[in-house]
């Protein structure tokens, strides 16, 4: 399941960012009457189609795995929080329908913007899909919409007082959505940016260079906007955990002990059977200040909770990795933008392109690390405070062959897809 999701989020991020880039490219092509922009939009559409086919199928696999591997969780989800997932199917539908319409209607409209407009529901559908699935995840982090006390008291059997739409109003949903959506746009745009940089570096002539340089500017601009939102929403997201999932917050920050005047831990690895942290530097009072604005803000600590509900402390290391890479990425973008303002033309310099290419790899790493950290830090819960992963899992040996087959299939399909995309792009000569 984790493996499928790790792959699916890359496809999903690309599936969100690509339609936006395609729309902007075609819009600029029509507005400036520039064939380069239109051709690049066409090229990205071909890539999008192949990725969409794999991404949608991997999404189906993830949905099936979700219900097959976590039967008890599926029952709770089905009775209480199925509405976002259900609406997501329609969002997915609109994406599928309009991508089909977009593909088969190039040059069929006199008013050229009409074709651009057909791609808008694709972008909206993709963003809505992410938003709605994140609402389901927010339900797992902050369950609402049923009588939780009674459910737990009856040993997870009685689900009463169901409010099917309450899941949309989960307090943590908005924060989580804003971070997931912005980071997905960022990662998706960075992957496209990496592709553009590779082509630009290999461009054989001035015409090709000019073609990819235009694509580079647009993709960079989208990534730059997304990185700002990703960092801001990331900071808000971490702070909100202190309220909604204090154990998760404590584990991420590496807080064995809570309280006021909490230092910010730089570095640190779990030791003594994950009951303490070692090898770190403290910045006095900083964590309390970051969380509440004052040094006497009380931060949660793990020792206030039973030992068996502590998340694995390795999440702190992942958090450090994610935050350092995230801020590093932000810094690179700031430097490039300042250079651009000073008319140093950084995007025309090879060094800057190599740096941005490394940033793209880092962006995917940040996306994956952030997701793994977020899921691990909810452990041992699958639905926070309601159901543990152990309670929810399906331990039938029947699932093993299917799981192995899926793993093997992904390992085959990803390199094969990249090879095919390369061949398609070569043949299409766009």
């Amino acid at each position: 399941m984790g493996f499928s999701l790790a792959i699916h989020i890359i496809f999903a991020s690309l599936g969100m960012a690509l339609p936006v880039i395609i729309i902007i490219m075609e819009f600029l092509g029509v507005r400036k009457n520039d064939q380069d922009y239109k051709n690049f939009a066409k090229k990205l559409t071909l890539i999008f189609l192949v990725l969409f086919a794999i991404g949608s199928a991997s999404g189906v696999l993830v949905a099936i795995e979700l219900f097959m591997l976590w039967p008890k969780f599926a029952v709770l989800l089905g009775q209480v929080a199925i509405t976002p997932m259900y609406v997501e199917v329609f969002a997915f539908f609109s994406e599928t329908i309009f991508i089909g319409a977009y593909l088969y209607s190039w040059d069929r409209f006199k008013w050229k913007y009409a074709h651009v407009l057909i791609a808008v529901p694709v972008a909206i559908g993709a963003a809505l899909s992410a938003l709605l699935i994140t609402i389901v995840n927010a339900f797992m982090n902050n369950p609402v919409g049923f009588n939780i006390v009674q459910y737990v008291a009856t040993n997870d059997t009685m689900i009463t007082n169901v409010h099917p739409f309450a899941v949309f109003t989960s307090q943590s949903a908005l924060i989580e959505i804003s971070h997931v959506v912005s980071s997905s746009y960022f990662a998706g745009a960075m992957i496209i940016l990496a592709y553009v940089i590779l082509r630009l570096l290999k461009a054989p002539d001035e015409k090709t260079r000019s073609y990819y340089a235009k694509a580079l500017k647009v993709t960079f601009a989208i990534a730059a906007i997304a990185v700002v939102f990703t960092i801001i929403t990331g900071i808000i997201s971490i702070s909100s955990l202190a309220t909604f999932q204090p154990e998760k917050y404590a584990a991420i920050e590496g807080n064995i002990h809570g309280g006021p005047y909490a230092p910010e831990m730089i570095g640190g690895i779990p030791s003594n059977n994950s009951t303490s942290m070692v090898d770190f530097i403290d910045i006095p009072n900083m964590q309390s200040i970051l969380l509440g604005g004052t040094a006497n803000t009380i931060v949660p600590g793990l020792d206030s909770y039973p030992r068996n509900t502590w998340p694995p402390l390795i999440v702190h290391v992942m958090f450090l990795l994610m935050v350092s890479l995230g801020f590093g990425l932000g810094l690179v973008f700031v430097l490039v933008i300042i250079s651009q303002i000073l008319k140093k033309e950084p995007l025309a310099r090879k060094l800057c392109l190599y740096l941005l290419f490394l940033c793209a790899i880092a962006a995917v790493l940040v996306l994956e690390t952030g997701w793994i950290m977020s899921e691990l830090a909810r452990q041992p819960w699958i639905v926070y405070g309601v159901m543990t992963v152990e309670q929810a899992g399906n331990y039938s040996p029947n699932i093993l062959p299917a799981a192995v087959a899926i793993l093997a299939f992904y390992l085959f399909i990803i390199p094969f897809s990249l090879m095919i995309i390369k061949k398609i792009l070569k043949n299409q000569n766009l």
Binding site: A74, V80, V89, I97, G100, I424
Partner: protein, 308 residues
Amino acid sequence: MEVLYLLNYAIFAMFICLFLIETGIGALVLFAYNNNRSSIRRYLLPIWGVDGTFAVFYFVNLIATYPTLGGVVYAYIVPVMLGSLFFLLRNVFVSYSEYIGDIKYESVCMKIYGVSTIIMSFIVISVFTSGLSGIGISVSQNTITLNMLSLFFNPFNILVFIALTLIALSIVGSHFKSGLLDKLSYALLPAAFLIALLSVYLYLPSIFSAVLNNYYLLLISISIMLITIALKMRGSKIARYSALIWIFVSINFFGIVQYPYLMGGKLQFTNYITNSASTAAIALLTTVCGSFLIIAMAIFVYVSYFRK
């Protein structure tokens, strides 16, 4: 009869209609791709994505309608996962074929697509017939166990698969230049109907009795089939669509006579249906979002097929 039950069956029927078009095209791709290349691509390419999405729609609607049916669905985990893999394979190769830009590779990709679609179709039908009849699965007090061999290779499943394949071939026979298939397409529909009826008579006697008790549904279904054949014989293009309407209506009628039993009467749908609050929410969302979907589909059909 529960509204959500009927809604779930209608989504299933719609999925099967689209799926049969694809299964027929999958078969045609294997034997007559070169003769029908342009028309296959024209009809298949816009619908394969929508068809796949309908599969997801059906699955999520099933979970939303019957959230506690999980125990039954989990029993089918291996065939479902296997079917999903072929679904992935089908998606991947049809999209490769579209822009590969090389006729030889395109043909290979389409053949892999065709084989994957047919295998997936067999798996889907096997799970469906097992859920209907209970064949291949044993239900004791707390456990449901699956016998894969019996699931796939039982006479009921084989008969239903043959019947549905004949219908699929009849649909593509009306659309494409397929020689013998084109001529046979008159006979395929009644043959499929008789095989399906025979399989129900032999293996689902209780449902067969329910069919006879609701004879007017059977008569409506037979009438639509006869109209379709008559339209086919007159060479009317409407026959293509009336065949699909016939399947859609017949599957829904089958749902009505099957109600409320599942697995040959071992289980009942009514025991698994969701709570009343979720029932209202799902019905509301299906109506609102479904209306939007119909508008989107109309735009899609207009842009993809009619606008030159």
